[in-house]
């Protein structure tokens, strides 16, 4: 822009080498060892449950990057323009994350380690001793070909938009003008409509059908809240770490403050949908619904069940309500890490009672695989990030972002 009066180096690129690269590779190695360890010592079901947890988490964080991008475009947000390369890097990883999740779903389904509540010998055969009339009633939807088709089509569609949105912005760097912006706007709208209307189905399939007898209309939005909060935290944490390494000097405490406010607000939203789902089921007390929370109130899960609320709602609310703490990168980074761990626990509580049930475990397999997937995400995302400059220099709102002040 001709009006630019700043001294920032907009062509600055992230150099992906040295410590970040080494550590993410080490983390991936730990993850591989943990998977092998899990299969050998903890059994395949628990290992598969963890694989599903982490690959779903990975896909969700990447999809959150795409949602963030799309929402910024359709709302014509200016403040975030300078940081948009980070969610773009997240978004670019979505195709790989989708493939990993798909592979685990396929392997888990056909090896009967996952989804065995609805996919198994004789469940829909009235002659069989295993016949389950309830499962049989929904087999028009819950069947292996339909399940796989939906996973492929939905994640394929999300990945397409994820890649395109990043691509338009990279083109904008080269070409300038309004063309990329207009296209981004259009694609963002389509993405949000498609994601909005279909993500509940994707979430019902991937997670809710683990306990196929149970159902909740809120489950899709509840998972979206978790996806969104953990995505915001991952974006914020990445920006803080990049700044610490000396990059992105144009992002200041005002931008981080806004991210902190979004995390604060959507942590409340997460708790709102969590509570609405829980309270309505608890209040109505119908056996087909309460079974879900009954399992989570068994001694194996109860302490974790309450810890979930403390870590994902009470703690961030009490910390982020303080303005000077939100504007302190150290505190904000701490909250982000806590919430990323918190939503791991959130997913853990969604997945484990429907898979390993009372044989819950928490040990090297869980920790190692979480570390491994975090490393994989860091490696893929930072690799994408290093390919382009860290500022979308021709973004029409870049000037607004530089002068953002709250």
């Amino acid at each position: 822009m001709e009006t630019n009066q700043h001294s920032y180096n907009f062509s600055e690129q992230f150099d992906f080498s040295g410590k970040p690269k080494t550590w993410s590779l080490i983390a991936i190695l730990i993850g591989v060892i943990a998977i092998v360890y899990g299969f050998v010592f903890n059994g395949s079901e628990r290992t598969f449950a963890n694989l599903l947890l982490m690959s779903y988490y990975l896909a969700c964080v990447c999809a959150a990057g795409t949602c963030f991008l799309a929402i910024q475009y359709v709302t014509q947000s200016g403040w975030s323009a300078g940081m948009i390369r980070v969610p773009q890097a997240f978004s670019s990883v979505l195709p790989i994350a989708s493939l990993i999740l798909l592979g685990i779903c396929v392997a888990g389904l056909f090896s009967h380690n996952l989804y065995h509540h609805w996919y198994g010998e004789g469940l829909v055969d009235p002659e069989s001793p295993n016949f389950d009339p309830l499962i049989s009633g929904k087999s028009g939807y819950l069947n292996a070909p339909g399940f796989l088709l939906r996973e492929v089509v939905l994640m394929g569609a999300y990945s397409f938009f994820a890649v395109m949105l990043a691509k338009f912005s990279y083109n904008e760097d080269l070409e300038g003008g309004m063309n990329s912006y207009k296209k981004s706007f259009k694609y963002s709208t389509f993405f949000l409509v498609i994601f909005g209307f279909t993500s509940p189905l994707w979430i019902f399939d991937t997670i809710m059908s683990l306990e196929a007898h149970w159902f909740s209309t809120m489950f899709g939005w509840y998972n979206f809240a978790a996806l969104w909060v953990s995505g915001l935290c991952a974006i914020t944490l990445t920006i803080i770490l990049l700044k610490k390494a000396g990059y992105m000097s144009w992002i200041n405490e005002n931008h981080l403050h806004d991210m902190g406010k979004l995390i604060y607000g959507f942590s409340i939203f997460w708790c709102y949908v969590w509570f609405a789902q829980f309270m309505l089921i608890w209040y109505a007390n119908m056996p087909e619904e309460t079974v879900y929370f009954y399992k989570r109130w068994e001694p194996e899960y109860k302490p974790w069940f309450w810890l979930n609320i403390i870590i994902n709602f009470v703690a961030p609310i009490l910390i982020l309500v303080n303005r000077s703490w939100v504007r302190n990168p150290k505190v904000l980074a701490g909250v982000c890490i806590m919430l990323l761990l918190g939503h791991w626990l959130d997913y853990y509580l969604m997945i484990m009672p429907g898979t390993v049930e009372e044989n819950r475990g928490f040990g090297l397999t869980e920790i190692g695989m979480a570390v491994g997937f975090a490393g994989l995400f860091a490696f893929l995302m930072l690799n994408r990030l290093s390919k382009h400059s860290l500022a979308p220099q021709n973004h029409p709102f870049i000037e607004e972002s530089l002068h953002h002040q709250i």
Partner: protein, 492 residues
């Protein structure tokens, strides 16, 4: 937040030539400082007759009892609760505009927040009259509060969502009223400073001694932000609790976990539609086209589209889970909405709320004033029928087929409903006469940076990308008050 670094591609929030601070005040206070015109009188007489109908119908209900309504032992809750929820829902847009959009620093709210907040308060008043009318014995209304037993009541049942409702709505009303009034203070002071005699003394008292000092403004800003922070969770809580009136019951079609956010989205949807209905008329009659621009109209239509689609997702999720749950009662309820005796109500609900709203995808529709106005009415019809369908179709065929019945409203039911609309418009029209319909002080904030003239100056100074100017001028074509030559002059 707006600043002198605002991108040129953002559309102007104030249009018109030679708009000065004085002109803003003059333009907005036209309805307050002058004798009402004929249009106002016609509107007021019609609305007041409606309000009279309300007085008669409610008095008749109090005199004869709830038996005056069309309820029966199967459908013990119908027209009355439908309209109550409808009014409460409409109220939500005002708080959304004033609080949530303030927190998100959406400056386009500045010219619509005042009327929207006023509308909120009047809608909540209409809803509150239903709460009292429901009671049958309104003179015992204080029984809903937890007061000692010597007042004649039993301790309230805190397990009942209806009690939560009483607290939620009274809190919401109080905070909305305070928020609205605090926002009004600088504008009341403006009226005071221009008035003489008794009028001046009245507005002087109402302005709470506003003196316009820096300190006063500073406190004003802080109070507004704090109130916005309080009002945001409240706006969610109110319709959440209204939804829980239904969702805590084990009635098919009522008991579903998505109800709270789905009701909140529906409330904002209907509220924006009502703001659109009122402002499209007020803008024309009061000559506020330069302040409530096509950008505002289109933005509101976009919010109607988004919230309508969220409601659509919730509808689809309900259908899907009714199938997926395998619960035959749930499945029957949803089929009954389409093929049962109330199929026409179901059609109006789904047709108006989801199908008709999808027309908003087209820019031509969003920027067409006549169509926007018609759609805003369509949405409110749809949202009334949504509540009717949820409530009556679930109740009228319950678990015991021998008790199945139909609900038919009596003339008193209809009278209270139409009367409440009259009451609403009476209050709104009176509001236009005594208080500024647009937040004067807040619109003035936009003049230097976000007005058509400010943008014009920016372009004339040079330094802007040609493609961005082109994008900007293209976006101006929808503005109904800007002529071709106005736009051409920009790029000269």
């Amino acid at each position: 937040m707006s600043s002198h670094n605002e991108s040129i591609i953002r559309e102007p929030l104030v249009t018109g030539e030679n708009i000065t601070y004085a002109k803003v005040t003059d333009d907005i206070l036209v309805s307050v400082e002058n004798k009402p015109n004929k249009a106002w009188w016609i509107g007021f007489i019609v609305a007041a007759l409606g309000a009279l109908l309300w007085v008669v119908s409610v008095s008749y209900t109090f005199w004869t009892g709830i038996g005056a309504w069309g309820l029966n032992k199967t459908v013990g809750w119908a027209w009355d609760i439908t309209t109550f929820v409808w009014w409460v829902g409409i109220g939500h847009a005002g708080t959304l505009i004033s609080a949530v959009l303030l927190l998100f620093r959406q400056n386009w709210r500045n010219s619509i927040n005042r009327s929207a907040e006023a509308m909120t308060i009047f809608a909540v008043i209409c809803a509150a009259t239903y709460v009292v009318a429901h009671m049958g014995r309104p003179w015992l209304a204080y029984w809903i509060f937890p007061i000692p037993n010597q007042f004649g009541s039993l301790w309230v049942n805190f397990n009942s969502p209806l009690v939560w409702d009483a607290f939620a709505i009274s809190t919401y009303f109080t905070v909305s009223l305070v928020f609205w009034y605090v926002g009004l203070l600088p504008d009341i002071a403006t009226i005071r400073d221009r008035a003489i005699g008794l009028r001046r003394r009245i507005y002087s008292i109402l302005s709470f001694g506003w003196n316009g000092s820096v300190k006063t403004w500073q406190r004003f800003e802080i109070v507004c932000l704090i109130l916005a922070g309080i009002a945001t969770p409240l706006v969610l809580s109110v319709h959440t609790i209204v939804s829980m009136d239904f969702a805590t019951s084990v009635i098919p079609g009522w008991h579903t976990t998505i109800f709270p956010p789905y009701f909140v989205a529906g409330a904002i949807f209907s509220g924006f539609a009502m703001v659109q209905t009122l402002l499209l008329v007020a803008r024309k009659v009061l000559g506020l086209e330069n302040y409530i621009t096509m950008f505002h109209i289109e933005s509101m239509n976009k919010i109607i589209l988004v919230t309508g689609s969220i409601v659509g997702i919730a509808y689809l999720t309900e259908f899907f889970i009714a199938y997926y749950s395998g619960s035959e009662y749930e499945q029957y309820t949803f089929i009954n909405r389409f093929v049962g005796p109330y199929w026409w109500a179901g059609l109006l609900m789904y047709g108006c709320n989801v199908l008709m709203t999808q027309f908003m995808w087209f820019k031509k529709v969003r920027t067409n004033i006549a169509l926007s106005w018609i759609f805003s009415i369509v949405v409110n019809i749809g949202m009334w029928f949504e509540r009717f369908v949820i409530i009556v179709t679930s109740l009228h065929r319950d678990y015991l087929p021998s008790s199945w019945a139909m609900f038919y409203p009596t003339i008193v039911d209809v009278g209270i409903f139409i009367g409440s609309i009259g009451l609403f418009f009476t209050m709104f029209l009176l509001f236009l006469r005594v208080l500024p319909p647009v937040a004067i002080a807040e619109v003035k904030l936009l003049l230097k940076t976000q007005s058509f003239e400010a943008k014009k100056k920016l372009i004339q100074e040079g330094h802007q990308h040609a493609e961005e100017i082109e994008y900007y001028t293209a976006s101006l074509k929808k503005y109904d008050v800007l002529t071709e030559s106005d736009i051409k002059e920009l790029v000269k």
